[in-house]
Assembly symmetry: C2
Homo-oligomer: 342 residues x 2
DNA sequence: TTGAAAGCGCTAACAC
DNA sequence: GTGTTAGCGCTTTCAA
C-alpha cells in the first residue's frame, strides 16, 4: 500500500527529471550527446528511483539482449566446466550474460539444442566439444555468430579453437618411447563422439610414425567417465597380455582405469604405466599422481569468449582458427617398463 | 540477394495465411480458441516460413522471458555442477532456459551479482550455496522469486532447500565412534563461507554429544579445494600428535588431505582414517576409495527447479523448507584405529 | 542539444 | 471465432 513499488520505466525518470525519454535514453547510451547539467539531473533521478532499464525492451529495440549461449556436452565434466568458467569471466567483463545448454552427452539432444536454440534471444553461441556434423555448424553459423571450441570441424568457415592434438600425441608417444615403452594401449573415449574417434586415428598414426604397432585390441572405446575408464581397463585385463603403458583420452578415464588396475593387484607404474589427458586439478592429487597431457581449458574459454565477441562486432571478418598446444606433464603414474623375463 | 532471408515476424505469417496476427498468436498460445482448419493453415505457413516467434517481443508483452538465473560459488566445483545439471534438466522440461552466474568463490563478487542481477530479464533465481546474509536474500526475494539451495538461511520467508547436516554429522561421528575412534579432526572448509563456519560448530556440538573432545587444533579451516585439503593436512601433520581420523567438508578436501598423508608416508586407513563429504563420483575411484557422506546433489537440483517454478506460479504460497538426508557411504579410507602402544 | 514519434514483434483486451 | 488495436519499455530517426 505504500505505493513506492510501482514499476519504474524510462518514462517515470523522464517525467521526474523534466526531460524527454530520448534524453534519458541518451544519458544511458550516448552521454556525450547530453549537456552536463541535464545529464547529471537525469542521473540523480535514476539513482533516487533506483531505476534500471528493461533489457527486454532495449533488446527488442536494438535486436540484442547481450546474451551468449554456451553449449556443453556435460557441465559436470570438469574439463567442460573449466572452459565455461573462463569464458564466463571474459564475457562478464564485456557486459554479456551467459545462457547455458547441456547436451547430457547425447547427440540427439545436442542436435535438438542446435535446432531449438532461442536464436533471437542470444547474440552468439559457443559450442564446446560439439559432436555435430559440419553441415550442422554451417547452418548454425548462418543464423548467428558461432565459435567452435574443441575438435576442429575443418573445412567450414567458422571461428574455431582447438588443441594441437597431433602434436600432443606426438609428445606423449615420444615420452613413452623414450622411456622404453613399445606396447601402448589407448582408452580413446567413446565411439559416439567425434573427439574419441578422431583421437583413435591420431594415436594409431602417431604410433606408426614411431614404428610401433597399435593393434585393434589395444584401442579401447569407453565412455568419457571414471566408470568408462574402469570398464575399459577391465576389458584390457581380460585380454591377458598387458601393454606396458595405457594412455587415456581424459584424466577421468585414466583415474577409472588406474583404479581397476590397482584392484587387480597391479602396481602403477612398475607393472603398468598410465597417462591421462587434460591435466585436471585431480591429476596431482590421486595416488599415484597422474602423468597427463596439459590441456589449456582456461585459455580455450577465454579465447572462445574473445572470438565470439569479435565475431558479433564484425560478422564478416575472416574466420579465425586458433590452435593451442598440449604438453606432457610427467608425474608418478609413468615409468620405464620393468624388464620381466617373460 | 536471394531475398528469402528477410526476417519473418508474426505479421508475415498472418499475411501469408490470410488471417490476423492475433489468430496467429492464438495458434501459438491458445490453439483451442482457433478453428481447426484455420489453425492448420497457420501452422503450415509457420512451417514453410520457418517462423519462430521472438522471445524478446513476447517477453516484453508478457513480462516473462522464461529464464531462470542460477548463481553458484564455482561451476568448476563438481558439487555445484551436479546441482546445476539436475536443475537445468528439470527447467528445460518446463520450457525454461538458464542464465548462469559464477561468484568465483568471492563474497564481494557474489553480492555484486545479487545487486546487478538482470531482474527484469529473469523470472526467478536459484542461489546455490550462497554466502550472503539473511537481509541480502530478503531483499532479493522482494524483487523476484527466489530459492535458496544450500545452508539454510533460517528465519526468512523464502523457499529453502538444505541437507540435514545435523543428522549427517551425527551419522558420521557415530560411524567413527562405533569403529573405536575418539580422536577426530575436521577440515571444515573456509572460514569465509557460511557453510564452513556452520559445519565447524555443528561438528563440535556433535562431538560433545558423544562425549568427545574437539580441541581447536583439530578444527582446521581451509579452502574448499584439493589444494586446501592438502595444506590443511600439512598443518595437521606439523602439529605432531595425529588424530585417528579426519573428516573433511568435501571430497575434494579429503582427497587433497589423503594425498598429503600418503606423501608423508602414512598409510590410509591403518595409520589414519579419512572421510569426505559429498560422495562425489571420484570417491569410488581414488585409492583408497573414500568413505563419504552422500549428498543428494541431483535431488537438490531437481527440487530447486520445482520450487522456483511453483514460486513463479504462485508468489504468495507459504515458503517451503525441504531438508534432504545425508548418509554415510563406507569405503576403504576408514577403519578402526590401530592400537599403537604409544 | 533536445523532443516527438515511429517502430521493435508480440500479447491481450475489446468489439464484432 | 476472429480481427482491431493499444500497449510492453526502449532506441533512433527526423525536425526543430
Amino acid at each position: 500500500m505504500g505505493g513506492t513499488d510501482k514499476k519504474k520505466t524510462i518514462d517515470t525518470v523522464a517525467r521526474k527529471a523534466g526531460v524527454s525519454v530520448s534524453t534519458v535514453s541518451r544519458v544511458m547510451n550516448n552521454p556525450e550527446m547530453v549537456k552536463e547539467d541535464k545529464r547529471l539531473r537525469v542521473l540523480k533521478v535514476m539513482e533516487e528511483l533506483e531505476y534500471s532499464p528493461s533489457p527486454l525492451a532495449r533488446g527488442l529495440a536494438t535486436d540484442s539482449l547481450g546474451l551468449i549461449g554456451i553449449i556443453v556436452p556435460n557441465i559436470t565434466n570438469q574439463a567442460n566446466a573449466r572452459i565455461v568458467y573462463a569464458a564466463m569471466d571474459r564475457l562478464e567483463k564485456k557486459g554479456m550474460g551467459v545462457m547455458l545448454f547441456d547436451a547430457r552427452e547425447d547427440l540427439e539432444r545436442e542436435l535438438t539444442i542446435y535446432r531449438t536454440l532461442p536464436k533471437k534471444m542470444i547474440d552468439g553461441v559457443i559450442v564446446i566439444f560439439g559432436n555435430g556434423e559440419e553441415e550442422d555448424y554451417t547452418r548454425l553459423a548462418e543464423d548467428l555468430p558461432l565459435v567452435l571450441a574443441g575438435p576442429p570441424a575443418v573445412g567450414i568457415p567458422v571461428d574455431q579453437l582447438s588443441s594441437n592434438e597431433g602434436q600432443g600425441f606426438q609428445n606423449l608417444v615420444q615420452y613413452f618411447y623414450e622411456m622404453g615403452h613399445r606396447d601402448i594401449a589407448f582408452l580413446y573415449g567413446s565411439d559416439k563422439t567425434k573427439g574419441g574417434v578422431r583421437r583413435k586415428n591420431l594415436f594409431k598414426r602417431t604410433m606408426e610414425d614411431f614404428g610401433l604397432k597399435a593393434p585393434g585390441h589395444h584401442l579401447l572405446n569407453c565412455p568419457w567417465t571414471l566408470e568408462g575408464g574402469y570398464e575399459g581397463a577391465a576389458r584390457l585385463l581380460k585380454q591377458g597380455e598387458l601393454p606396458g603403458a595405457v594412455i587415456s583420452s581424459s584424466d577421468q578415464i585414466a583415474i577409472g582405469a588406474m583404479r581397476r588396475f590397482q584392484e587387480y593387484g597391479l602396481h602403477i607404474p612398475s607393472d603398468i604405466s598410465v597417462a591421462g589427458f587434460d591435466n585436471s586439478p585431480m591429476a596431482r592429487f590421486v595416488t599415484p599422481s597422474l602423468t597427463s597431457l596439459d590441456f589449456p581449458h582456461s585459455r580455450m574459454g577465454e579465447e572462445a569468449a574473445e572470438l565470439i565477441i569479435r565475431r558479433i562486432q564484425n560478422r564478416k571478418k575472416t574466420p579465425a582458427r586458433i590452435i593451442l598446444p598440449l604438453e606432457v606433464v610427467s608425474r608418478e603414474s609413468t615409468a620405464p617398463p620393468e624388464k620381466h623375463s617373460g
